[in-house]
Symmetry: C2
Subunit: 233 residues, 2 copies
């Protein structure tokens, strides 16, 4: 149980905070929440749910045993609905309030951001600014790397890295806008600068069809994950 990344745990807790759910439904929402094509597997989710139950953060909630198909295997294999326990709620609040260095990292940041609607403005600012400083460190390493690559590698390799560098630069600019919005919105509303129909932040608005932006960062990752880092998504 040692070094749980905690990111999945956090996301599960956050979704169940809204409403009880069973695994399959949870997975669908999770895949929407943390990044589309990001196909979180059952091999990850179910063990995680069990672990959370074992830790006392979740309870299985099989109400009136409806939907019990009573499998051919003479056993039971019904729908298992999970619900947050009091400890689970508390745990979620803790994770939510943690704006420390962990929350700057690729995956953690995404989940934190997704739950920003339930956070204090102070926490949001700290996460946003911390994330930005993380990326700026990254940027410096990438620029050095690019310089070395120009000497040692061919044009394609260099082009690849240049693109990666720009992706990160673009994320920094995005963060700048968000931070700016948080600053100016200190009177009230919780919403971010929604690109769709801009509020306070100057956006080009890309809306449904793109007009002239575009970029991404596979992986994550190392990304983003990657991987993981990773990025985009």
């Amino acid at each position: 149980m040692g070094r749980r990344s905690g990111v999945l745990e956090f996301a599960v807790l956050g979704l169940l905070h809204d409403a009880p759910m069973h695994g399959y439904e949870l997975r669908k929402r999770l895949n929407i929440l943390l990044g589309t094509f990001r196909a979180l597997s059952y091999g990850t989710l179910y063990p995680c749910l069990k672990s959370l139950v074992a830790q006392g953060f979740l309870v299985e909630d099989n109400p009136d045993v409806e939907y019990v198909p009573a499998t051919a295997l003479n056993g039971k294999r019904s729908k298992i609905v999970y619900r947050l326990s009091a400890e689970g709620k508390q745990r979620f609040e803790e994770l939510l309030a943690d704006s420390g260095p962990d929350a700057w990292e690729d995956e953690h940041f995404g989940v934190h951001f997704a739950f920003f609607g339930q956070t204090d403005r102070a926490v949001r600012m700290r996460v946003l600014e911390g994330r930005r400083s993380r990326l700026e460190e990254r940027l410096e390493r990438m620029r050095n790397s690019l310089a070395r690559a120009r000497e040692r590698f061919d044009d394609y390799t260099v082009e690849l890295q240049r693109h990666g560098l720009e992706s990160v630069e673009r994320e920094v600019r995005w963060l700048n806008e968000l931070i700016e919005t948080e600053r100016s919105n200190r009177t009230g509303r919780t919403g971010p600068a929604t690109g769709g129909d801009s509020t306070a932040v100057p956006h080009k608005t890309s809306d449904g069809r793109g007009q002239e932006t575009g970029s991404s960062d596979p992986s994550g990752p190392p990304y983003d994950r990657p991987g993981r880092s990773a990025q985009e998504r």
Copy 2:
């Protein structure tokens, strides 16, 4: 040994194709090659090297046993230099020539692209166009996901996804430029459209400091992580 992703194997083979190297040096170059911050760990690299030796693609090349510190542990633990075998060279050529669906994926694409300088233009085109179609599929899923998110999730979640969507759109545009360049460069040069000092492709050029885009994508990848892509500048 079952389901090797092959991406690391490919990268190692490619780097050793240029010159023999030992693990530590290999790791440094690998981290430059496949995407900066993407800190490939020794726990991944060394087992991979062993596997490649076992498969006959690499040979250990301990020439005159120089640099043998003769550890305190009365044993030997010297520098191990790896060199491509004939089979290894052949294997690399095979991987390089494979422009099939695997090469469209996030991580594979990055490595393939990095070695484009050693490829035929036909292969480059196929990989580039395949990658683009992959991303366009992704785009469609992401747009659906975003639509669902607008109903079910709050503004911050939606903003996160909007940003991810734009990242992918941006990568598609990058690919379009690269494809365009390959088409027009059919007479000769092997280099890509180097953003630095634009060649044939019309670039907006954003240069070192950003001016107004910004985005990225946590996780990912994951991502990765990793990976990468970029857009000119």
